[in-house]
């Protein structure tokens, strides 16, 4: 019996342009300038970061930029021990839900400069930026979030964002 055919290669290469849309455009410009810009929903007042243009809860167009300091609270976290293709960080490392001060939605980001056993829900952190000369239109300007010397936030205060 001949060998079974186990593989057929049919490579595909496609190039696309990207259209940010109105609010993502402002957000990306902000990142290039070293600023974190949230956007507020005019109906429910939630502040989104990253702002994708619309309030995911009520469908209203976001309006009104809200500059955010980069200080934040960890609302949940997990430790990554599994290696995978394309991994950027050395394992083990911590991925956390980050609630920026002044924002109402968390986003997932790695924590830096700490031992995994020291991470706590409610701990205070701040954004660690790449050097200014490397700023581009990307959230990758922020390497991760590192702990700051501020007292933990009570669990009750972040419960809604977990």
């Amino acid at each position: 019996m001949t060998d079974m055919v186990e593989r057929v290669d049919t490579p595909v290469h496609l190039s696309y342009s990207f259209v940010a849309g109105f609010s993502q455009q402002r957000w990306l410009e902000g990142l290039k300038d070293g600023k974190l810009l949230g956007m507020r929903c005019p109906e429910c007042n939630n502040v989104y970061f990253p702002p994708l243009g619309l309030c995911a809860l009520d469908g209203a167009s976001l309006a009104g930029e809200v500059p955010l300091s980069g200080k934040a609270t960890v609302t949940s976290f997990t430790t990554v021990n599994v290696p995978f293709f394309g991994q950027q960080m050395e394992i083990p490392y911590v991925l956390a839900f980050i609630l920026l001060d002044g924002a109402d939605e968390v986003f997932l980001y790695p924590l830096l400069e700490l031992a995994v056993e020291d991470v706590r829900i409610g701990m205070r952190v701040e954004a660690q930026w790449v050097s200014e000369s490397q700023h581009d239109f990307t959230l990758a300007n922020i390497i991760g979030f590192r702990p700051i010397d501020e007292p933990d936030v009570e669990l009750d205060e972040v419960k809604a964002y977990q």
């Binding site: 496609l14 259209v19 994708l52 469908g59």
Partner: protein
Amino acid sequence: MKRPVAIVGSAQLHNVRSSPLSDAEMLNRVVREAAATVDLNPQTDIGFVCFGSADYLTGVPFSFVRATDCYPAWPPMSESHLEMDGAFALYEAVMRLQHGDIDTALVYSFGKSSLGDLTTVLTLQMDPYFVAPLRPDSISIAALQAALFLAETDHTEEEMANVASANRRRAMSNPFAQLRWDRSVDELLVEPYLVQPLRRHDCPPISDGAAAVVLAVGDRARDLCERPAWIRGIDHRIESQHFGLRDLAHSPSTAAAARNAGADKAPIDVAEIHAPFSHQELIVLDALRLNAGTDINPSGGALAANPIMSAGLLRIIEAAESIISRDADRALAHATSGPCLQQNLVAVLEGD
């Protein structure tokens, strides 16, 4: 149909070559506008939402998930997505309304055809092992069909030019159309071939657009709209993916869908045909055998604006609006999907 379903409201964006809006921003506009035409609140008054789009067009995996931001998802919504034209999403919504537990549905779709090299992107809908690796671009595939069509039937390049000319002329009175002009058949026929036997005017424009439709059942439809466009019949049929097994010069799937939708039960006043290439309109019309006097593509059809994944839903919207506005009493909408009219949907709409 056990429960009569009608189109009661709709909205569409002005079709453009390249939209500065994000996917969700485009959809949000049509969703809000369609709901507003019938005074419904998307958050509380819609029983089911069905959405058609294709991630290959935007080049972003799960772009349809991101695009659902266009719709308020609180309280939690009942939603379904098809990697297909919105016309097929409308079919699913009509079936969903037959369950009897809800009275309204909203269907939307967007096509950002401008982001990639469209003619190459469309090759990826074909057999991934033996056909797609050859990268036959969408215009060449359509040209192969057109050559067969001209050889196997009595139709001519003049008729194709006439289709191109008529659609772009009709588009001059469609505020949402992208490609509009008034040029005679004689002028068009002296143009060089793009891919023989297709000339540039035989091919559709590349369009960014979005559309949304509100559906309602029975008395609810009558409450929401003075003259609902009742969907009296709707069906879709698909042919083989193998070009060699198909009769490319004819469209038996269109004929079957039209028969099952009851198209021939009474004369049709307005027919909206989703034919991206001029010869395809002739193929579809041959299959439909419409009565003389039917007004074909008052909107200008897909030759005037072709937002992939929305162009079929737009045909249903245009047919429905002709009923709602009392321009027509009985209208037919046709939508297609896949290369060379592989899959075809026919809906028959009537006023009270």
